[in-house]
Symmetry: C2
Subunit: 357 residues, 2 copies
């Protein structure tokens, strides 16, 4: 474990995206989005994924000079074709379209096809905050999740992010996979040679499992709720809604056909659409009530929930976004710790691209 | 347990709403919405609640001659003031506003204040289907749910419904509480004198519990995910989003201030808004791609998921909406079974109102 400053990770990552052929502007956007994950402690979605993006680019599945454009629209909606660009760049483009539409008619809703992995959902949803809008972002992803009553991997971890502005309080920012545990949580346990709790995964026959490596053995992640008795059909429904809004509305691939992130995994045959899909929303809060009034009530909401009686052994009740915001402040100040495997990965990239690290 | 025909329950309920002072049109809407729950097997939200609505009306908290109206709007949004009307009537009004806006600008989003319990969310979301729109409905509710790390009841079971049209396949209709188990599930266990599974509720000190009567002892329902390790912070975030979209956007009450459904529970003091809140959305599918194309891909999505490999011991994988649709077909044909307590409740209502039952 070594600690790297934000600046150092930023400059390195930026140089990599430039070497991959991104424009200066796209490299800046992609780097900012990617490293936001490291800053917030969502280590699985930051520079740890850089080599994965490079392999997709090498395999011809990422176009670093995309012509991203709106291909279909109404006053409050649009479909964006990402032209196989980095999702890290396609997503902010599409979110900006949603924001522009919200400015004009109150809300904007954008479904995206022909994209790739877009980093963390929360960073896109948060683009809306500075405009006094509620932001939403979701995406489908490689199929790793078995629906309730199934042993087949049909859905991605399909995250949902919702960012809601407040006045003096920090914004409410929820950002979560629609599974009991995100894949990144398994990766952490794999490195520690530790087991998962029961209820996170099942083996290829559908039995309970605590094997953090079970996805390599045709096992599956479980939808939020873990099992039917604890509401896994609700997590399955949520993941499905994300898949349909991101994939079916836009014309992207969906369900088990979603393009896998690891470049070595063959593309599923008979693709019903193009690339990965995302879905973004922006709602002007003053499309419902005066913005100051809304934000003051959000302050009231947040302070009331923060002061809810804590359970024994817990100091306080958290508001969605609290842990990530605290981590971000810490890591901007003290740097980002990278595990040895990731550091080694970046060194190999540095060597291959002839960039200092 | 006695079985009642749909027609008989309908006529009785309709007569009750008329006696309460509803217009003929409102009584028809309210009855249709209420009994949709009985037909679908969501028995806790059907005629079993009729006496609860009556008590709220007697307590002056339901206005059966409301002036429901749009009080704020943009091309794609509106706020509806329910004038303390039956949520069963306010909700279809507001959903229709969302649909009308979607017809004009692609999508419509309506937040509602000053309302009451609206029955099952799914029936409102489904209003969008016949227009080839995706429908959404959610509502806040009496605080019975403790956030992760808390012992205080801060949120309702805050359901989310999403209805998505298909072509030859029946529509995708998800409709679920954002808790591990809905309150109605506890009521069923109470009648059977049975325990809940672990992970549904906690006692007033935050300990694990299996007591189906725990809500009467200051215990709480748990957010979807049950505990932090299994993602309860995600269920807490979802319930919070529903509360904010329904309550804070509209100017309704929210969080622990949400008006309680049982009329004997005193209203929380210092109400920050008016009544319960709801939130509705409608998105024209052809605001994203041609409707036929979308619906054919939904057919493909549904048939692919229905044919996912089932886990041992399970016959098939279900699509959200399957169990309720099958139950509805059965109960229209064979009638609705009511437990003795509910039948007795309706007999008392019949006597009080001088209606035949």
């Amino acid at each position: 474990m070594t600690i790297f400053s934000y600046e150092r990770l930023y400059q390195f990552t930026h140089a990599v995206f430039i070497k991959m052929g991104c424009s200066l502007e796209d490299a800046t956007i992609a780097t900012t989005v990617l490293i936001a994950a490291d800053l917030r402690g969502i280590d699985s979605h930051g520079v740890a994924r850089l080599s994965g993006y490079i392999r997709l680019w090498e395999a011809g599945r990422i176009n670093t000079k995309p012509n991203i454009k709106v291909v279909y629209e109404t006053p409050s909606t649009a479909v964006v074709d990402g032209d196989a660009g980095l999702g890290l760049v396609v997503a902010p483009f599409a979110m900006q379209v949603a924001i522009n539409k919200a400015t004009l008619v109150g809300t904007g809703w954008v479904s995206v096809k022909n994209s790739n992995h877009f980093g963390i959902a929360g960073v896109h949803a948060q683009m809306a905050l500075k405009e006094d809008m509620i932001g939403m972002a979701m995406t489908n992803a490689s199929a790793l999740v078995a629906p309730t009553f199934s042993i087949e991997r049909m859905l991605g971890t399909n995250p949902i992010a919702v960012a809601i502005p407040a006045n003096e309080q920090p914004a409410f920012v929820a950002d979560f996979a629609t599974t009991t545990a995100a894949n990144g949580k398994l990766e952490i346990l794999q490195r520690k040679n530790a087991d998962t709790p029961l209820g996170w995964v099942q083996d290829k026959e559908g039995n309970e499992s605590t094997d953090a490596n079970i996805l390599k053995k045709q096992g599956a992640l479980l939808p939020l709720g873990s099992d039917r008795e604890h509401g896994s059909h609700k997590g399955y429904a949520l993941g499905s809604i994300v898949d349909i809004f991101s994939g079916v509305l836009s014309g992207a691939s969906y369900g088990p056909w979603a393009p896998p992130f690891p470049a070595y995994v063959p593309m599923p045959e008979n693709q019903p659409g193009q690339g990965l899909g995302h879905f973004f929303g922006a709602m002007r809060v003053d499309a419902f009530r005066p913005a100051e009034e809304f934000k003051q009530h959000m302050d009231n909401w947040i302070t009331r929930f923060r002061s809810a009686v804590p359970a024994p052994g817990h100091e306080k009740v958290l508001i969605p976004g609290d842990p990530e915001r605290e981590m971000e402040a810490l890591r901007i100040r003290e740097g980002v710790p990278l595990v040895d495997a990731v550091e080694k990965d970046l060194q190999i990239i540095a060597k291959n691209f002839g960039i200092a690290f």
